[in-house]
């Protein structure tokens, strides 16, 4: 087994330090060795915290809006439609108000445990099953954000996400942070899932409006749909060329998202030869990918009400960075704060 990645320049998919174990001769052995890598658990811990916070928001906002009975209960109990019977509710004896409220409470409690970092895998499993049960009650009142949540929670079930930045770590070691290595492959799966979401949605966009055939008009017309808009967006008619450029950029960015995997690999193997590798690293492809992605999601959030989609998707972005990068930035921030707090107190020379 390879040990934790050493400090220093880092990338999203850091390989073992060289010189290391000898290269494996066949693809299967390389695959097994790739999954055996370990690294500090910082990125996965931040992912856990972000997912927990998003889940708290997603479920509590349904409660807060007063829509829970209407959406998740049968008409006899105040619902607007006949709801389904996911397996968890079948085990609980049916979809009764008491059962729905209890499952909602357990889901919120599991989300809170994820945030504080206690009972990591169990909390993720409970959050996943209760969320699947709740959102399975009324599939008409769901969206792609539900799939993003359940995939994130399943990856947290597979990951050792409480190794650091958790109450579990505090109870175990007496400190909030730990260098205890965790397996890196769940972070790789988080990255793959993010790319899969983007690439798949890009490939599904077969409407003429996403292409020159329809004049790249997709975003303009999407933003005119009353269902999703926050307020009247007819003013975009005067900014139409901007929406066309954004449409083309969005589609190209989504479809080409698998390049991110290549970029992260090139970043992690930057000491190897190759012009394409050098080009990707010189461009800092990851930085551009993240800049476009964050800008796109924040624009969607500003103009459209798509629930927790913006935040749960952005939660995946924390795994694009190696734990050592997070630790380096934290150290820089701590140093900067220390200098700032020390400066005013200095006696005049």
């Amino acid at each position: 087994m390879s040990g934790a990645a050493p400090p220093g320049p880092s990338g999203g998919l850091r390989p073992p330090a060289r010189p290391g174990p000898p290269a494996h001769p066949n693809p299967w052995a390389r695959w097994v060795a790739f999954l055996d890598r370990r690294e500090p658990g910082t990125s996965l811990a931040l992912f856990r915290i972000a997912v927990g916070l998003c889940l708290l928001y997603a479920v509590s906002s349904v409660v807060w809006s007063g829509a829970l009975p209407a959406l998740w209960l049968n008409p006899a109990d105040g619902g607007y439609t006949v709801v389904g019977r996911p397996w968890l509710f079948r085990q609980l004896g049916g979809v009764t108000p008491a059962a729905v409220w209890a499952v909602t409470g357990v889901c919120l409690a599991a989300a809170l445990l994820l945030v504080v970092g206690l009972a990591g895998r169990l909390a993720a499993l409970v959050a996943l099953q209760t969320y699947l049960a709740l959102t399975g009650l009324n599939p008409d009142a769901s969206g792609s954000y539900d799939g993003v949540f359940t995939n994130a929670l399943w990856l947290l079930v597979l990951a050792s996400s409480t190794a650091t930045l958790s109450l579990g770590c505090r109870l175990r070691t007496g400190r909030w942070a730990s260098d205890r290595p965790a397996t890196a492959w769940p972070r790789y799966l988080v990255i793959y899932q993010l790319v899969l979401i983007y690439c798949s949605t890009g490939l599904h966009k077969l409407s003429a409006c996403w292409t020159p055939v329809g004049g790249y008009s997709a975003l303009y017309y999407t933003l005119q749909q009353p269902t999703w808009q926050r307020w009247d967006m007819s003013w975009l008619a005067w900014a139409y060329p901007l929406t066309q450029a954004a449409t083309a950029l969005t589609w190209f960015w989504e479809v080409s998202s698998p390049l991110l995997l290549l970029a992260l690999w090139y970043r992690a193997t930057r000491d190897r030869p190759g012009r394409l590798r050098a080009l990707f690293n010189r461009l800092n492809f990851r930085r551009w990918f993240v800049a476009v992605g964050v800008a796109m999601h924040l624009t969607v959030f500003a103009f459209m009400e798509v629930g927790p989609f913006t935040w749960i998707t952005l939660a995946f972005y924390v795994c694009l960075y190696h734990p050592n990068e997070w630790r380096e930035w934290w150290q820089h921030l701590a140093d900067w704060l220390a200098r700032r707090s020390a400066t005013p107190g200095k006696p005049d020379s």
Binding site: V62, S65, Y80, L132, L153, S200, T222, W238
Partner: protein, 218 residues
């Protein structure tokens, strides 16, 4: 020694399962009646026109027929391939449904709820209208928006009727002087940027009107 190999196999199966499910597919769109919606018909006309320009002569109805047949065959093969992974998707939440804004709805609907008081109708709720926001806290919440979006599509008539019943129950409580409530959808073609700049207004047609009497619900 065996565990790393088992892990390697399971992770590979996970990647295979999620990738196969994420491949483009018209899931949820295999309802021929839905294809008759003007938004879909406009798409078919646009692509038939483009194909014609490329030398592939096909009319929109012919394109629709061929696409339907291809989609049906593709979905059948896809179902066969994905069946072994079904429990993994269902119980582990690894569904991959990323059909987000695949085609803008060019003929959207806007929900209107009116109450009949003192012999005349007046609006109580109009989607995205801050002046008429009765039940707005619930109806404007993100999950209710998804449900309301579907009411304008074929196949959701029964849910729409139940929704009208639900609205009637709340109207009976909140409007003691009202004797009826009406739920309907304002359907219109979204104006192009040029039309908006010219100051034109969309031509609205109210569809799917449903009335409910409030007596007996109080």
């Amino acid at each position: 020694m065996w565990f790393p190999h088992l892990r390697g196999l399971l992770v590979a199966l996970h990647l295979l399962a999620v990738t196969l499910l994420a491949l483009p597919a018209p899931e949820g769109g295999m309802d021929r009646a839905t294809w008759k919606d003007p938004t879909v018909q406009d798409e078919l006309a646009a692509w038939a026109g483009r194909l014609d320009g490329w030398g592939v002569h096909v009319t929109p109805p012919e394109l629709e027929d061929r696409l339907w047949q291809f989609s049906a065959d593709y979905m059948h093969a896809r179902e066969t391939v994905l069946r072994p992974f079904g429990p993994y998707y269902e119980y582990c939440g690894t569904y991959q449904s990323w059909r987000m804004f695949v085609a803008p709805h060019r003929y959207p609907t806007r929900l209107h709820i009116d109450v009949h008081e003192h012999g005349e109708w007046r609006p109580a709720y109009v989607e995205r209208d801050a002046q008429h926001d009765w039940l707005g806290r619930q109806l404007d919440s993100y999950r209710f928006r998804s449900a309301i979006f579907r009411f304008g599509w074929h196949g959701y008539e029964r849910d729409y009727g139940r929704f009208a019943d639900w609205v009637a129950g709340h109207a009976a409580r909140d409007f003691p002087d009202a004797d009826r409530v009406r739920v309907r959808l304002a359907k219109y073609r979204t104006l192009s940027p040029e039309e908006v700049r010219e100051g034109r207004e969309p031509e609205v047609e109210f569809v799917q009107p449903v009335e409910r009497r409030l007596e007996g619900r109080r």
